[in-house]
């Protein structure tokens, strides 16, 4: 006859066993590099890197989705190129740094008892948010710049909201650990020959990632960008493409006209020849993509402000630029006064000395300074002016 196990004894037994096992695991980590100083150094670097990513990420988000009171300047021309390049390249270079930090503090995962008090539990909860969130941001971000979407959510929205969770957890964690960071100024203990070597190794890995990718946005280092998902000169008319005409469902038709409507004194309907008859301007502007790459090109076409003035508009109007594209998140974009007043903002008809190819937005695309690439609307068919 089977004896019924006493549940309390069983629980005690499991408890004792797990304690023994956890303490045993904790003794495995013998390296001197699992110490506070190494963790604090890596933590300071991560704090800087994640703050840069958070701020540049917010810039990118609010450039694309400005609240009604927010107006972005159109200069400096390359500002968005710089902030988004920093966001993506710093993000990729942070991957070795984060892995090193998690390796250094890994033994703490196996501390015993797992929870000492309510405050300790809260602290570990924040660390979980920080670890899960950091890995989440870097992994999904890396997949996104490689155009690979194996996850069941929309990348930009999830990446944006998770950033708040990570940054909040980072602030709390920094407040908790600040005493250890202050300890960095004290002279190091006499042992520990390889800490400097370890930190140099991590810096080397981060640097190598940066050097082999930064050329996708910093053109002078273009030849070194051997691991970058993009090359500035690779694409039709020596310029990369994000969404092709095929993907957008746009074909080369006849009878294209550009209509200007809304809050205008006279509505316009311009043919391609009408646009070509207007004063032609040539500008050199970069396409700076949200995915971090950027490439400069020489654009030719008419100034957006010339077209708007021809229709008769007030100085403070906003313009909605609409594409031939039937659907898609980026089929329209908003152009605020600073951008449409800017003489560099064109309705471009040519790129690099040739008429736009269909993939670059034939017959007509928007090109403006200091603006995300997804807002440089292609296949423009309609300008809707509003107050």
């Amino acid at each position: 006859m089977l004896r019924r196990a006493d549940p309390r004894r069983l629980i005690r037994r499991i408890d004792a066993e797990s304690e023994r096992l956890t303490r045993r695991i904790a003794t495995v980590f013998t390296s001197r590099l699992h110490d506070e100083r190494t963790a604090a150094w890596l933590g300071v670097c991560l704090g800087v890197s994640f703050t840069v990513a958070f701020v540049t990420g917010l810039v990118s988000h609010f450039m694309q989705h400005p609240p009604s009171w927010m107006v972005w300047p159109s200069r400096p021309v390359g500002l968005y190129r710089l902030t988004q390049g920093a966001h993506v390249i710093c993000g990729m270079a942070t991957i070795p740094l984060l892995l090193a930090k998690l390796w250094t503090v890994y033994p703490k995962l196996w501390q015993w008892p797992p929870i000492r008090s309510a405050a300790h539990a809260a602290r570990r909860g924040v660390v979980f948010l920080l670890v899960g969130g950091s890995l989440f941001q870097l992994v999904t971000g890396l997949f996104n710049v490689n155009y690979w979407y194996p996850f069941p959510f929309f990348f930009t929205v999830a990446h944006y909201w998770t950033a708040y969770v990570v940054f909040g957890a980072l602030l709390i964690h920094a407040a908790d650990e600040w005493a250890k960071v202050r300890g960095l100024r004290r002279p190091p203990p006499p042992y520990g020959p390889s800490r400097r070597g370890f930190l140099a190794t991590v810096a080397g890995a981060c640097g190598l990632v940066a050097v082999t990718t930064v050329g996708e946005t910093f053109t002078p280092l273009g030849d070194l960008a051997v691991l970058a998902p993009r090359r500035p000169g690779a694409g039709p008319q020596r310029l990369p493409v994000n969404k092709t005409a095929l993907a957008a469902g746009v074909t080369r038709g006849t009878g294209w006209r550009l209509t200007v409507t809304g809050a205008v004194r006279r509505e316009l309907s311009l043919s391609l020849d009408d646009l070509r008859a207007m004063p032609r301007h040539v500008v050199r502007l970069p396409i700076a993509c949200v995915e971090g790459w950027s490439a400069e090109a020489t654009w030719a076409g008419v100034r957006l402000r010339d077209v708007l003035r021809a229709a008769g508009v007030e100085d403070d109007v906003r313009v909605r630029v609409e594409s031939l594209e039937k659907a898609g998140l980026y089929r329209t974009s908003q152009v605020d006064p600073p951008h449409w007043h800017d003489p560099l903002t064109l309705l471009a008809l040519e790129v690099n000395g040739e008429p736009l190819s269909l993939d670059h937005g034939y017959p007509c695309r928007l090109i403006a300074p200091d603006r995300p690439g997804v807002m440089q609307t292609k296949w423009v068919a309609r300008l809707e002016v509003s107050r």
Binding site: L102, V165, A174, A175, L227
Partner: protein, 181 residues
């Protein structure tokens, strides 16, 4: 005081983020990935790294460091190497041979590490011999570089002198013509 302010600010940010996720992101899929990457790191990746570190514990320090760098760079490059994001209609996405490039980088890391290890072995006769050969080659290259630079500098100076002579002649001629007229 500062600490309390940081706690409060952090809590507000976390609350904003979680509320946004609740309203705009499919929570189940998001939570699966959020916890999934943490578990994948803690339960699979980290033990794997510790396992490899244990197996290679007798490896000299420079080679272990090289392995760490090569390993992390490989991880970052992996999505590009796998190339799941490639599109038939858009050859400008992932346009490079990332596998080949990664192999070349790993080989380069190996070569640099080898050179560093050789440098460390400088005191030993064999290392000394290798290093003196490399040093002689470098010296020869340097000498040629310097000779080339001197020659090009001379050429440049000769050109400047030539232009100066022409300028002097022209100026004298003009002044003479001005006087005679």
């Amino acid at each position: 005081m500062t600490r309390r302010a940081l706690y409060a600010a952090g809590a507000v940010f976390v609350a904003i983020g979680l509320a946004g996720i609740g309203r705009h992101v499919g929570v189940a899929g998001w939570a699966l990935w959020f916890a999934g990457v943490a578990v994948a790191h803690d339960a699979v990746f980290a033990p794997l790294v510790f396992g490899v570190a244990y197996v290679t514990r007798r490896m000299p320090a420079p080679w272990r460091r090289a392995a760490v760098i090569a390993g992390t760079v490989t991880l970052v490059a992996l999505p590009a190497v796998l190339g799941f994001g490639r599109r038939r209609d858009n050859p400008s996405v992932l346009p490079q041979a990332y596998g080949k490039h990664l192999v070349a980088i790993v080989i380069l890391i190996g070569l640099v590490t080898g050179a560093v290890a050789a440098l460390n072995a400088y005191a030993r006769p064999m290392g000394k011999a290798i290093l003196s050969i490399v040093g002689i080659l470098l010296a020869i290259w340097l000498v040629f570089m310097v000779i080339g630079m001197i020659i090009s500098a001379l050429k440049f100076l000769i050109w400047i002198g030539f232009l100066a002579v022409i300028a002097a002649v022209v100026v004298t001629l003009i002044s003479k013509m001005a006087k005679s007229s």
